[in-house]
Symmetry: C2
Subunit: 201 residues, 2 copies
C-alpha cells in the first residue's frame, strides 16, 4: 500500500452519475483496506455550505471550501472524494493547484439524456423556467479540458465507469489492487464496521 | 510514533492566548516529525466561515464546521488544532462526541486582565457599547467544566502553558517525546520546509 493521499474530484451536471460513481469507488477503496472520505452533496450541504446560494460567488465559495477540506485530507495521506457539480473551470484549476495528487473525473452526459432520465424532475422544471440558475440549462457548465478521466455516462455502464476509475488509480499507484485473503482479521473487522456505518451492508 | 489522530481544541475569550499557544504547539509537534493542521481564526475566516455572523446560530454553524473538519482529520490519523472562541458548551460537547481523541484546552483569563492588555483595543470598545455581541462582555461565554487542560494564561508564561500541553499529549501517547538526532535527513528537510511555509523560520 502506498499511503499516498489523493483527491478524486467528480465534476459534471446534476444526474450525470457523480454521487453514484463516487459511492461505488468509495466502497471499493474501503474494501481494499484504505480509509476514504466522501464529500458529496448531502455531506457538503449539512457540514460546509449552509447559507450559500447559487450565484457564481456562492458556488465558487462552496467549491473552494470543499477543495480546502480535500487538500487537508490529501496532504495528510488520506483519500478524499468530492462529488459536486463544480461548473467553473477556473475554480477547479485553482483547487487542482493546491494538490499534489489530484484526479479529476468528468461524468459526461448530454442534456437530452439527462432530461430524458430526469429522476428528480428538475430538468423539466428548469427547461420550463420554473427553476432559475440550474446548471446546464440556464446557468453555465464549463467542461473540463484536461480531466484525468472522462466517463461517457450516457453510454457506459456504472460497472464499467467504476472499473475505469479504479484501474486508473491502480496504475497511478494510488490504490492497491483488490485484496484477497491478505487482510488481517482486525482490518477486515474495521472495514466491515465502516461499511455498515455507510449503510453499504 | 503513535500515528493516532487527535484534535486539540482551544477555547477561551478573545486575547486569552488561544492562537499564540496553538502556534507554539503546532511548531513543537512539527519538530517532532508529525503532520499537523492548525485551524485558527485566519484560516477559518478565509476557508470555512465566509458569510457567517455572530448570532448564536451562526457561531454554532461556524464551530460545527470546524469540528467537522477536525474530525475528518482525526479519524484519518492526522492531528488537528482548532483555536476558536467556541463560547457555547453544548456545541463543544457535540463536537467532542464526534471524536475518539479530543483534548479540550481552556485558556482561562479574567475580563479585567484582558481589558488591561487589550492589544487590539476591542475590549474597551465592547465595554463602551461600540461593539455588540462581543464574547465575554455582551455575549455569553460558557466556561468548560471538563476540559482536559485548563491554563491560567493570566499567571502562567507562554512557555509553561506550551509545556503543560505537550506533557499532557506525551503522557496520553498522542505525541512522541522531543526528537534528538534520530530524524532522517529527508524528514528534517520536510519539517524545515513546512516550518518555512508557516513563517516560523
Amino acid at each position: 500500500m502506498t499511503n499516498k493521499g489523493f483527491t478524486l474530484w467528480f465534476t459534471g451536471l446534476s444526474g450525470a452519475g457523480k454521487t453514484t460513481l463516487a459511492k461505488r469507488v468509495e466502497k471499493e477503496i474501503l474494501m481494499r483496506g484504505m480509509g476514504v472520505e466522501l464529500l458529496d452533496g448531502d455531506v457538503i450541504r449539512t457540514n460546509l455550505s449552509k447559507g450559500l446560494g447559487f450565484s457564481k460567488e456562492d458556488r465558487d465559495t462552496n467549491i473552494r471550501r470543499i477543495g480546502f477540506v480535500c487538500n487537508l485530507l490529501e496532504r495528510n495521506g488520506a483519500v478524499a472524494i468530492a462529488a459536486a457539480i463544480s461548473p467553473y473551470a477556473d475554480v477547479r484549476r485553482e483547487i487542482r493547484a493546491l494538490h499534489k495528487n489530484f484526479v479529476e473525473v468528468f461524468t459526461k452526459c448530454s442534456l437530452d439524456k439527462l432530461t430524458e432520465r430526469d429522476t428528480k424532475g428538475l430538468y423539466k422544471k428548469a427547461l420550463a423556467g420554473e427553476i432559475k440558475g440550474f446548471t446546464g440549462v440556464n446557468d453555465p457548465y464549463e467542461e473540463p479540458e484536461n480531466a484525468e478521466i472522462v466517463l461517457d455516462t450516457e453510454a457506459e455502464s456504472i460497472e464499467d465507469s467504476t472499473n475505469r476509475i479504479l484501474t486508473y488509480l491502480e496504475e497511478r499507484g494510488l490504490v492497491p489492487a483488490p485484496v484477497g485473503g491478505d487482510v488481517s482479521a482486525e482490518e477486515r473487522k474495521a472495514i466491515e464496521a465502516k461499511l455498515k456505518d455507510l449503510n453499504f451492508v
